[in-house]
Amino acid sequence: MSLLRRHAGEIATILVVAASLLIPRFTDDPLPISLANQILIAITAAFSVYLMLRMNLLTFAVPAFMAIGGYAAAIAGLQGGVTDAIALTALSFVAPAIVALPIGVLVLRLRGVYFVLVTFVLSEIVQLVLFETPQLTGGSNGLVGMPSTTAFGIELADNASVLVLTAAVALAAALVTALVTSLCRQHFAAIEENEPLAQSLGLVVWHYKVLGFVVAAGLAGMAGFSLVNMLLTAHPTSFGPGSSVNYIAYTIVGGRTSILGPVLGSALLVTLTNLFSNQGQYSQGLYGLLIVVVVLVARGGIVGTAMALVRRVGGLRPATAHLATGTAAPRGT
């Protein structure tokens, strides 16, 4: 029971994402399907940010690894004729993870904002590399004309089956995230609380950070694959460095203390972005206003606020309550 309680956020996330597999059974209206598709991709990418934040590291590299995963899948489809969804998903996880390993070893010595800048620079570099390698990546035009993805020999071409694939990828990402954060819960918490202390107590901090970084890169890669599969194209503009802020916003607005945060944040912000988009030139400003309001009103994100409410209504013991929000306020000067 206590195990169940401790992993309630993870279980809820997995159930919610799994439930989205059923959306095509209830509707064939393209708007909810398109919206669910976008939300699930956002969730997958936001897991990457969430995992890094577990170690108190803010990453702007999500678009970079999304691009590596997405392009790897596109190239495998175009040049290798690979269409199997499971193989492509695995590839989109493994390719960025392999790239991330040496980078992680090099840059994870950096702390705080220095790390942030490196991830930021990585996104810029990947974007420029895409442009400079037209033979492999199609350069500024991107790659189009991939064969339709298949699952167990069935072609996944229509709106509904594209959504099912995106949901399945998101589910896999949720499972990976839940697994890694649960297994490393104490180590990550120690790093987040006080890294030098953890180090001095004999925790090989560095190993766990590299593991987290590599897995986070893989998660982003899976999101990249879903995006490429939805758009039927791998285009550099899909992975612009500026988009990294969106995934961070999804995670922070949702709440960084629980895996449910990226899920709720993505659902809220993506839905509202779509609503705002028919407000013409006001769309960006409304999005900005929304972020400001949520950050001011809901400290600790939606999940943090919801838990505070639950606590107030349910009258949980103060000790547990402290645990729930204790990590919400990051340290620093």
């Binding site: 840059v107 950096l110 702390r111 220095y114 930021f120 802020v245 006001y282 400003g285 000067t333």
Partner: protein
């Protein structure tokens, strides 16, 4: 050789422009620990404010620059006091707040002034020439203002009581507050100073380059790069890094072209950070 000297002169101009931008950014970063995503927004706002004072109010350009600096400074003051101050200890929340503000600012400018660049010229448009070499007079003005601003900020931080208080707060907020310093009074002032600097840069630089609602977009990336490269919160470091980045950008663009040059710059930054994890002049890392 000619192209090398030309590139060097261009690099110095770029460096002056970057140093002005990075100065405000590093102040906010060093003292408040806030990554100000709205920094580019204040740059654009400064440009449009100066444009408005010149074109609509008919004021002379130098006065317009001063007023634009004041307007952005006051706005920055209010922004810190009313919004940032509530969450100043939560770096992620302030990052989101400033991002939201930036989106609102640029939308407001787009709606008010329209998407296209207006006519906004620097009053001195001559160019100094010597043989194959040239230096636009406007860039000379920016360079001079840049040096004055750096000296001014330096004097303020290291020679006044206000500066001492700000430095104490930057070093250790708890201890400084315990000794009677009041972050609630000082932080808005620091923010106003930084935003005013961004606004002044916008007022000076946009007529030399171009003014449009989106010209603040690249400002953040450049400032961020320079401030970290120079070492956090270090005014001298940021200044050196700004000129370094300006020069590297100029050489790589001239010799490699715009796209490969940018790639070279980013790879160089990456290498520097891996070799010197605390920036060129930094001592300690602030946690994000």
């Amino acid at each position: 050789m000619t192209s090398f000297v030309t590139a060097t002169l261009i690099g110095v101009s770029l460096g002056a422009q970057y140093a002005l931008l990075a100065l405000g950014f590093t102040l906010i970063f060093g003292i408040l620990g806030v990554v100000n995503f709205a920094h580019g927004g204040f740059y654009v706002l400064g440009g449009y404010a100066a444009y408005w004072f010149v074109s609509a109010a008919g004021l002379p350009y130098p006065l317009a620059v001063v007023l634009a600096t004041l307007v952005t400074g006051i706005l920055g003051y209010l922004f810190e006091l009313l919004l940032i101050e509530r969450l100043v200890d939560d770096h992620l929340a302030t990052l989101m707040l400033t991002l939201g503000l930036y989106l609102m600012l640029s939308t407001g400018i787009l709606i008010t002034f329209g998407p296209e660049s207006p006519l906004f010229e620097f009053p001195l448009n001559g160019t100094l020439r010597a043989g194959p070499f040239y230096f636009p007079i406007a860039n000379l003005v920016v360079l001079a203002v840049c040096l004055l601003a750096i000296l001014g900020v330096y004097a303020l931080i290291f020679r006044t009581d206000l500066g001492r208080a700000l430095r104490a707060l930057a070093d250790d907020r708890q201890v400084a507050a315990a000794q009677g310093l009041r972050p609630r009074l000082l932080f808005p002032l620091a923010f106003a100073l930084a935003c005013g600097l961004a606004g002044m840069t916008g007022a000076l630089v946009t007529p030399i380059l171009s003014l449009a609602p989106h010209v603040g977009d690249p400002v953040l990336a450049t400032s961020f790069l320079i401030v970290i490269l120079g070492g956090l919160g270090s005014i001298g470091g940021a200044t050196v890094a700004a000129f370094l980045v300006g020069l590297v950008e100029a050489y790589s663009s001239v010799y490699l072209g715009g796209s490969k040059g940018a790639l070279a710059l980013f790879v160089l930054v990456l290498i520097i950070l891996v070799v010197r994890p605390s920036g060129l002049f930094g001592r300690i890392a602030r946690e994000a």
